[in-house]
């Protein structure tokens, strides 16, 4: 196989910097946060769940808007909302609607910030080796999740994604006959994929933790043996 190298210019892409949102005037106090939770619900458990639910939606909202620091922006939004609500709890009735308004301001402030300056090469860390543990855990979790699908769905998703080029077109047309057309088939495949992704992060994290604790055990055992 011969490999010919040449060089050319690519299109521009916006650099993914991660500037933090402008810090709030003063940090949120425990008392303010407590009042905010009570405003969400008088029941502690319900309030905590509602808070997490709103935070998840806020993160999602900023990702959909293309922000590179969605988590920071969501936290800043909730801090501002909590501070306001602590002062005038009766003024705001719908938490999600109020968060939406504040989130818009936080986002506008964020996009108007100047980009960060280029980093000096000396500030870089040494290159890291690819994390094989992560790759193995990803594969292990994907296998587990695909195996746990009902047989009909497993068969569909494997068939749907296994072919290339003309073969792919033929196979998908054939599959579509049994699933109410190409549009429906596409939607079904998409939903199965989304279900496969649900909980994937948790599975990978648990797998990585298991491996890490195993490594720690081995290291502890080794140092004991040396000692």
């Amino acid at each position: 196989m011969g490999t010919i190298l040449n060089y050319g210019n690519g299109c521009n892409i916006v650099a993914a910097m991660t500037p933090k949102p402008a810090p709030s005037k003063s940090p949120l106090t425990a008392e303010e946060f407590g009042r905010f939770l009570r405003w969400l619900s008088p029941d502690d458990d319900k309030a905590a769940n509602r808070y997490l639910e709103i935070r998840t939606e806020m993160v999602k909202k900023f990702i959909r808007k293309g922000s590179t620091n969605a988590e920071d922006l969501a936290d800043e939004t909730l801090d501002r909302v909590a501070r306001k609500v602590a002062q005038e709890p009766d003024k705001y009735l719908n938490p999600m609607a109020y968060c939406h308004g504040v989130a818009r301001n936080v986002w506008l402030e964020d996009i108007r910030k100047p980009p960060l300056e280029e980093l000096a090469p000396e500030k870089f860390n040494a290159p890291q080796q690819e994390d094989w543990n992560l790759k193995e855990c990803e594969e292990e979790c994907m296998k587990e999740r695909v195996d746990n699908l009902p047989e009909r769905e497993r068969h569909l998703i494997i068939q749907y994604f296994s072919f290339q080029g003309r073969e792919k077109i033929v196979v998908r047309k054939r599959l579509a006959e049994g699933h109410g057309g190409l549009g429906n088939l596409r939607t079904k495949a998409c939903r199965i994929r989304m279900r496969l992704n649900d909980g994937l992060d948790e599975c990978i994290e648990q797998c990585m933790n298991r491996r890490q604790s195993k490594r720690n055990e081995v290291a502890a055992h080794g140092s004991e043996a040396i000692g």
Binding site: L5, A15, R64, H100, I158
Partner: protein, 284 residues
Amino acid sequence: MAAKQSDETAIREYLLGNIDPESDLAESLDERMLMDRDFSALADRVEEEIIQDYLEGELEPSQRAAMERHFLRPPERQKKLRRAYLLNRYLAARDAEQEQLKPAPVLPRRNPFALWTSYAGWAAAILLMIAAGYLVNSRRVLQSEVAQKTRELELVREQATTAEAKSQSALAGLPQPVANLNFYGQGVARGNGSPSTQQIVTRPRTLHVELLLGGITQPRCQVLLQSAAGKMVWFSQAQASPSGRYSVLVFNVPVDGIAPGDHEFKVSQCTSSEQAFPFHVSSP
């Protein structure tokens, strides 16, 4: 139905950053995605479809550019793309595995009773009885032949095992089939002629790539290998390390899945603008 279609189109354009984010339309979509659970679920699905279309090279060039310029900015989306890519690869590999393990097709069973009810069946039975007599007579001869063949087979097996062990030890001494690909920056030709050429005699399993980058803004880079048709072939993240005034990005790419033709590595996230490194793979 038409309303749903138009919602889908609007969400798609919004997610790709093709709608002015400060417009009333963007504001109303934003609000609906937050307040209406069904609409939010629809947006999740459209997002998944965009990723899938990107992986399959089915986005139009303008949409692909929008995806790389806007949609892939959040690290969460890059992670999603990577997972989707890995899942596709896993499903494709799993299918190939299942094909290999598929049992041989089973012939349809015939009803044995139907055979005996026909004259042909009786004739076959008589023939079988004659054949059985002949077989009994030939049995001793066959048994000795089988014993002879078994001894020969064992001898061949022993020879094959020895040969395999020899070839394994010979292969262990050879270098791994890795091809190297070095880029010295965009618009910089190596040597006098451009493009420079590198010959690889055997088909490699891994492509070891080294890229020299300028204008680095952060060490973590996103690397995308795309075919000329815009199909994503490989995707990963790599850490750039400083080398004088520049930075070097080193990574390995599995050759499986790289078809002959024009390709390019696209490096983003760590530089102020995306950098592209085109190359060509010819047939073996």
